[in-house]
Symmetry: C2
């Protein structure tokens, strides 16, 4: 059956029931998917993977008393009625804000009240349609709900599936927030080797095929950032994704697909001049397929974030997985943040649904990618121009916002002799000292960069040093200067001019 | 030394440094307290109480690279610059919103970016001053930071201090969200007996004095809702608070003071006619002293919530405790929600600091209390009028938003004979059936109420049945009718008219 198109959702909305604006109203994604989803097989059950903590945890019985109706006198739940909020609709300023932000449906009054752990139905509807349009998961019973950002979502995923002593597989270098959460829960991260194409399937297979249970229970979780990876900027090809997914299927592995950079596509360097804008649909169809779109078994937990494509301050994202897993997510939301800030939900609803619609969002993502492409070209050009290329290398990223620079420490004056030495600890300490000195000298020189060692999950070579540069945070016109200032420090550190690097 | 007054803070602000609007800027409360705090003793250390999980957890090293300055090219952290947000300041609508919400200082641009786990310095300043004005904690090194709501904060408190198998003391009936979090972490809740004045100090002392370590390690946490308790609406007197605090000191107990109803003071029934408004300061000074204000040792973790006094949808509150404990809170924020929604922070800053100031907030709380007083009077009047008083009783609440109705099951036709029976399990099941039937019949009849059994922490008498009514959620003009509809169901259930109750 052909995948659903925009028009199918428009028709469906036209004939669908009106959404509830009752406090803590909830409607699952199932109500918003196209009919095309019905014929698909169900997800495999992942419940044998549930942690001791989460196995019997179904969320708050009190919260389950919430109803999508308002045809009764509410003496049950301590949710102050809207007339008791100080942002009153009588107040002129608040009225202006309320009008500006949302006229009907989900509005300021609803947003200021308690909300459901899964998000307002108004956003679940939009995001379900969006997920189906972009990823069209190949199984039937997937669900999408809001998260209080992907960092919160990955921590919850660890609580749902992880027990103390478990080993979680990650890329060799990865997002430190995830590593923190792993360590906090008494688990260990094990790094899978990477190359320019990201996580290597051969390294993953080797680890799983030869797992020695004396090192702990066989890993059941793989955390990966497949697109514009943090910190390397590397992107896994479709072939690699398929190969990794096959390994996951063979070893009954759950894949946490953390994909905040998915929609930021700078493309290859050669294309950089492309400035023509389309209707956005073409842009979306040319994005690399996600793990979710390959997920025939229902073993992927896909995390989407608003932080890089809309605004980080919203602390909101969405997660897509099989319905049983999503209901666990919502149970955890209930005992932690309870719900995503209503103000954030209102901003998102107003922009995504009321203002943009799906095509408008796609156009925004294409436009945003164009702006990142320009920035990527500037920073890559500056790196090529200013850095001592003989002592370092990097891959121009085609997605995301990071340039990962690897330094060859064999060319560092202080390390040159040490490298042959059998004293690996001494070597590591020296590299760490050099890394820290470059960081501080760079800041002194007027540029902030990030040490590569912060991203290391486990293992790694003693003679390597990395720095991560981002082209997201600086003004476009100061990017090249930033790289120049950094390069100045690096050249001095490597005595580049003296030795001709 | 006399406690600081409003004017002291005004002067201090005038001479203070300008606050940073850099992304992830942070300034501790210490910078905003009055000089009067300097002479106080330090808090006792609670670090021997830290859980295995939290003991060595200091938060994210990457996050610690944040700086309160902007005088460098930021190539370090992946925080998209404001020009990359879709709520652009060029956009007319967004500009109107931005202007309406915040002209200078903390504004939309800052709010949409990443924020610090502790909250923007603009709010920390306000809340620190507020805490000092209202509670003036008797030790020196207290700190206040934002929370993503009190439910999130209590869950974090459990993670900081609790290990699997620990027993946490609570009121006999308490907030189910807390009980959920306790069970989720593999801990147990033990209910301390209550009377009309809330948690009973003799029951607390008895439990601790006679603790048998074969039931688990001696409790180190007491969770209490001292004011307008949920679900009972009971308020601990000052004498009782002092007695309980002395016991906490003697047994090295940490007190989690969850106080969302503190500022909702309906007062005794007789005062109900008081409609005169003051400058708010008088109102504040007549509130019952909090545990924080009695906390000479620094063993109280006070949770304040915006949910009941401003709006629940903000998902924001604040926590006050000794600095070491607050830094643990922030470390946990970093790996969970990262920060409170910038939109919520902006709404709060704009209202509390820019619009109201401290006196305006006090006046709002007094006005709000007046509105709750009116509602309390209506619901209490309706309960007196409609309920079969011989079969039930309740205490008119002087704080908060709940009326807790205890039913004497000896008067229930189905239970009358059973009560003498030694089959306690049978008795419990029957009471549960009656409770559930009343709930459903009430909803059928057009009123939503809450079953008392949802709030039970541990133990309890088999022959008791409770319902919680709230006067916060319904419209003022439907409150009495709601009670009448509920009473109709109760009267039918107890055959009240037939037996003359």
């Amino acid at each position: 059956m052909a995948p659903a198109a925009l028009e199918d959702f428009e028709t469906q909305r036209l004939h669908g029931e009106e959404l509830s604006t009752a406090p803590v109203a909830y409607t699952p994604s199932a109500a918003f998917k196209s009919k095309q989803q019905q014929g698909k097989p169900d997800a495999v059950s992942l419940s044998h993977h549930f942690s001791n903590e989460s196995r019997d945890f179904e969320g708050s019985p009190l919260k389950k008393t919430a109803l999508n109706r308002t045809d009764f006198v509410p003496l049950g739940t301590g949710r102050p009625t809207a007339e008791l909020y100080p942002w009153s609709l009588d107040d002129k300023q608040a009225q202006a804000t309320a009008t500006a932000l949302s006229a009907k449906g989900y509005n300021l009054t609803t947003a200021l009240n308690y909300g459901h752990a899964g998000g307002t139905p108004f956003l679940i509807r939009y995001l379900t349609e969006h997920v189906e349009l972009v990823h069209n998961p190949p199984y039937r019973n997937w669900e999408t709900c809001l998260t209080a950002g992907s960092t919160s979502a990955m921590e919850i995923a660890l609580r749902i599936f992880g027990d103390r002593g478990d080993v979680v597989l990650t890329e060799e270098f990865t997002y430190p927030g995830f590593l923190e959460a792993v360590h906090l829960s008494g688990m260990k991260a094990k790094g899978v080797k990477m190359d320019d194409g990201g996580l290597r399937e051969d390294s993953l297979a080797e680890i799983l095929d030869n797992w020695n249970t004396s090192d702990g229970p066989k890993p059941k979780l793989l955390y990966t950032i497949p697109t514009g990876q943090n910190p390397t900027g590397y992107t896994q090809s479709l072939e690699r994704r398929k190969a990794i997914y096959r390994i996951a299927d063979r070893h009954d592995l759950i894949v946490i697909e953390d994909d905040p950079y998915y929609y930021i596509k700078a493309g290859p360097l050669a294309e950089s001049d492309a400035s023509a804008q389309t209707d956005g649909g073409g842009f979306i169809s040319q994005l690399i397929p996600s793990y979710l779109s390959l997920d025939t078994s229902g073993r992927v937990i896909r995390l989407d974030s608003t932080a890089k494509i809309l605004a980080p301050g919203l602390r909101a994202g969405w997660v897509t997985a099989s319905e049983r897993v999503i209901s666990k997510f919502m149970a955890y939301h209930e005992v932690t943040t309870v719900a995503v800030s209503g103000m954030s939900q209102l901003m998102l609803y107003d922009l995504l649904d009321r203002t943009w619609g799906h095509e408008g969002f796609f156009r925004w993502l294409e436009k945003l990618s164009g702006r990142y492409r320009k920035r990527r070209d500037i920073i890559v050009g500056a790196c090529q121009k200013y850095l001592p290329r003989a002592a370092c290398d990097f891959i121009p990223p085609s997605y995301g916002m990071f340039v990962w620079i690897r330094f060859d420490m064999a060319l560092h004056p202080q390390l040159r002799e040490l490298l042959g030495s059998p004293d690996v600890q001494m070597l590591r300490t020296t590299v760490a000292t050099v890394e820290q000195r470059i960081l501080q000298d760079a800041l002194q020189n007027g540029v902030q960069v990030t040490k590569g060692s912060l991203f290391r999950s486990s293992g790694g070579e003693a003679h390597e040093m990395f720095f991560r540069l981002t082209f997201a945070a600086a003004r476009e016109d100061e990017l090249a200067e930033g790289v120049r200032l950094f390069a100045e420090v690096v050249r001095k550190e490597f005595l580049a001019d003296a030795v001709g690097l």
